[in-house]
């Protein structure tokens, strides 16, 4: 599907990315690579909007997590499906989740290894744990595609590979900005490199060679 067709993307009228065209085929796992400030987050926001306009169900993992620190990890996970239910049902869940909801939420926390922290307020968790809660919320939401902005940046490399594998099994299509080239190669089927507001390369994952990577991160 053609998601972007010759658009300029940017903040407050100052474009970061110019004249962008991007087509994503369902089933692809896309990794975005690039130095910070290269426009990964801007591109992800635009892709998410484009997916939503096509009535796709999108699970988002923002870079800043966008969790509610005062609520428990479990409730933050349950937030993933609030728009599927009416106000009364959601109010009930907020006061006391039903057994089925609780079990479903615990199952998704289990995928990120946080079952034992389910009832702790998110503000008392570490940065890495918070990131995993944000990921569990995306698992709980489910859908056609996951859009994640560095969703594995705060966990250690071994855990990151395991979580990437979970993402692979949970969503048919994935678009993730990643900071780690090794994880990108292990996870993605397609890798897009962004530099200075333009696409430097757009390749199948197995064609990414060290020279290209070096060029991407060089100053």
């Amino acid at each position: 599907m053609q998601l972007l067709d010759g658009v300029d993307l940017g903040y407050d009228g100052a474009p970061v990315l110019r004249d962008l065209r991007l087509t994503i085929i369902p089933g692809q796992r896309v990794a975005l690579l690039g130095r910070s400030g290269s426009g990964k987050s801007t591109l992800l926001t635009a892709l998410r909007d484009a997916l939503l306009q096509r009535d796709m169900r999108v699970a988002l993992v923002p870079q800043d997590h966008a969790l509610v620190p005062q609520l428990s990890a479990l409730r933050n996970v349950l937030m993933g499906r609030l728009d599927d239910h009416g106000a009364l049902r959601n109010l009930r869940t907020l006061i006391r989740p039903s057994r089925a909801d609780r079990n479903a939420g615990l199952h998704d926390l289990d995928r990120v290894g946080l079952t034992d922290q389910a009832d702790r307020a998110v503000e008392t968790l570490s940065g890495g744990q918070q990131q995993r809660v944000a990921l569990a919320r995306a698992f709980h939401r489910g859908g056609d595609v996951i859009v994640g902005d560095e969703p594995l940046s705060a966990v250690d490399p071994r855990q990151a590979l395991a979580l990437a594998d979970q993402i692979h099994h949970a969503f048919p299509t994935a678009i993730l900005a990643l900071h780690d080239v090794a994880i990108a190669r292990a996870f993605a089927t397609r890798i897009i490199g962004l530099k200075d507001g333009a696409v430097l390369f757009d390749l199948p994952a197995d064609q990414l060679d060290p020279a290209r990577t070096e060029a991407l991160y060089a100053r």
Binding site: L4, G6, V7, D8, L9, G10, Y11, D12, G13, P15, S41, T42, T45, A46, D49, A50, L52, L60, P62, Q63, D64, A66, L67, V68, P69, Q70, L71, R75, M79, L82, D83, H85, G86, A87, N90, L91, L94
Partner: protein, 504 residues
């Protein structure tokens, strides 16, 4: 008003206005020997007499109960209004509610409900609902918008509010509610002066009996109550306190009011007399008489009292900010300065004015002193707190040199902003102090109510509210023009929405 004002010029204008007001101020202490009276009071306060402890205990219970229940009711109503504060009718309702002081609300409500629980409860809850609505809506607006954005557009408003708005704003809302409870305790005590059975009532009756020892005991208990509020009021105990408050209030028996008092109040009492008599032509002269006979003289006196009190408060704060900084006044000096400021600001203005009235007799002096000292203590306290957070270079001087060369210039903007912010409050309060006999707006209002001319009372009340709103707008305008702006810190949030530029 010019687009920008110099701060020094502004101070000069305000001082000049105060000098112009001075000849119109009635500061006489005729026929009173303040020192003898002061001596008797001091002796009473230094040897408080707790024999009437049972009476006082019940008054304390009622003071706390009215405060807790009134603030809870006002807080809930304000919370319900806050998400809709952007709608014109809601914000106007909130402005109208909070521009009438709780004592004035009490005077009106007493006409409807008599001396009953509802009069006291609503007198606190109604104006507080208006204040809560405004402040809670600001707190909610400042809460992190990202979780709400994550939820997407399909989520219904109630779910969005309860899951992604209210929890984020909860810490600030709880701390604001605690602050409001402190204000509520002051309001509740002061409601006693218009006849409700709280501490103010006890104080008034002990003074009338000349029982200064018992009055001293009331004051001591009152200070203790205010000073320890953060210890006994814990957010997790709030429901228990509320239940206790309701329990106490149900014990209050009140004389029955005639049936339909409320209806009569709305349909007869507050209808202007000429209209009631079926003579609409007499409405204009009636209004003219009211304006020239009550509102204008009352307004004049209100402004004179407020202007002089503002200058006094400013002078006290200017000096007081230095007194509580150890680097300037020494550790003992700072501790003493702190004590004085805490004492002055934990007493409601009304109670201070009442005490000064006993000492100096009826004139504008008690009102000016009470307003000046109380508000000066508040501004001085806030400035001193800021002063202690200023970073000083290692070789900074001490004492007066430090005050003059570092604190005064660096805090001058905050000083002006705080004074302007209290200005509106001082005007509201000087209108109120009319109830004690100073000829400000409250005096004429009380006069009309005592004469059971509620129609006149309501017009004076509306005029008072309009003056408050006008001064609020003026103070806001001046604050913006001297660049002092809002007192609250409003940080821009990181992670703003990326906007798609160009065709998409």
């Amino acid at each position: 008003m010019p687009a920008s004002l110099s701060r020094g010029g502004l101070v000069a204008v305000f001082v000049a206005l105060a000098v112009i007001c001075l000849p119109f101020a009635d500061l006489a202490t005729a026929g009173h020997d303040p020192w003898a009276e002061l001596g008797r009071m001091a002796r009473g306060f230094l040897s408080p007499d707790f024999t009437a402890v049972e009476q006082i205990g019940w008054a304390v219970a009622l003071t706390v109960a009215f405060a807790v229940a009134g603030v809870a009711l006002g807080g809930l109503a304000g919370l319900a209004l806050a998400p809709f504060y952007r709608l014109r009718p809601v914000s106007w309702l909130a402005i109208a509610l909070r521009s009438v002081h709780e004592l004035f609300w009490a005077l009106l409500l007493l006409q409807v409900f008599g001396i009953s629980v509802w009069s006291g409860l609503l007198a606190i809850a109604l104006p507080y609902a208006g204040i809560f609505a405004k402040v809670l809506s600001e707190i909610l607006d400042e809460a992190d918008p990202r979780p709400s954005r994550w939820l997407g557009v399909r989520v219904d408003p109630l779910t969005r509010f309860l899951w992604a708005r209210a929890p984020l704003a909860r810490p600030q809302m709880v701390s604001y509610a605690l602050y409001r409870l402190e204000c509520g305790l002051r309001s509740s005590a002061v409601l006693g002066f218009v006849g409700l059975p709280t501490l103010g009532y006890q104080l008034d009756s002990f003074f009338k009996l000349g029982n200064y020892g018992a009055a001293g005991a009331v004051m001591a208990i009152y200070i203790l109550l205010i000073a320890t509020v953060r210890q006994w009021m814990r957010p997790r105990l709030a429901l228990a306190w509320l239940a206790a408050a309701v329990g106490v209030l149900t014990q209050v028996s009140s004389p029955p009011m005639g049936q339909g008092a409320f209806w009569r109040f709305l349909t007869q009492d507050i209808v202007p007399a000429p209209l009631r008599a079926g003579d609409p032509a007499a409405l204009w002269p009636w209004l003219q008489d009211l304006v020239t006979g009550s509102i204008l003289p009352g307004l004049g006196a209100t402004l004179v009292v407020a202007q002089l009190a503002l200058i006094l408060a400013g002078a006290l704060a200017f000096v007081g900010q230095a007194l509580i900084v150890p680097r300037i006044s020494g550790r003992i000096g700072a501790w003493l300065g702190h004590l004085v400021l805490v004492l002055l600001r934990s007493f409601p203005e009304y109670m201070l004015a009442y005490l000064f009235l006993q000492v100096f007799g009826p004139s504008m002096l008690p009102a000016i002193l009470a307003l000046g000292l109380h508000n000066g203590a508040i501004i001085g306290h806030l400035l001193g707190r800021q002063a202690r957070t200023l970073t000083l270079r290692p070789d900074a001087p001490r004492g007066l040199t430090l005050w003059g060369w570092e604190f005064v210039p660096r805090l001058f903007g905050s000083f002006i902003a705080l004074c302007l912010y209290r200005w509106e409050i001082i005007i509201r309060e000087s209108a109120i102090l009319g109830l004690l006999g100073v000829a400000t707006l409250g005096f004429y209002l009380d006069d009309a109510i005592v004469a059971l001319r509620m129609d006149r009372a309501v017009v004076i009340l509306v005029a008072t509210a309009l003056v408050t709103i006008a001064i609020d707008a003026l103070s806001r305008g001046i604050r913006a023009r001297i660049g002092a702006g809002e007192l609250q810190r409003r940080d821009a949030l990181p992670g703003r929405v990326a906007r798609q530029a160009g065709p998409s």
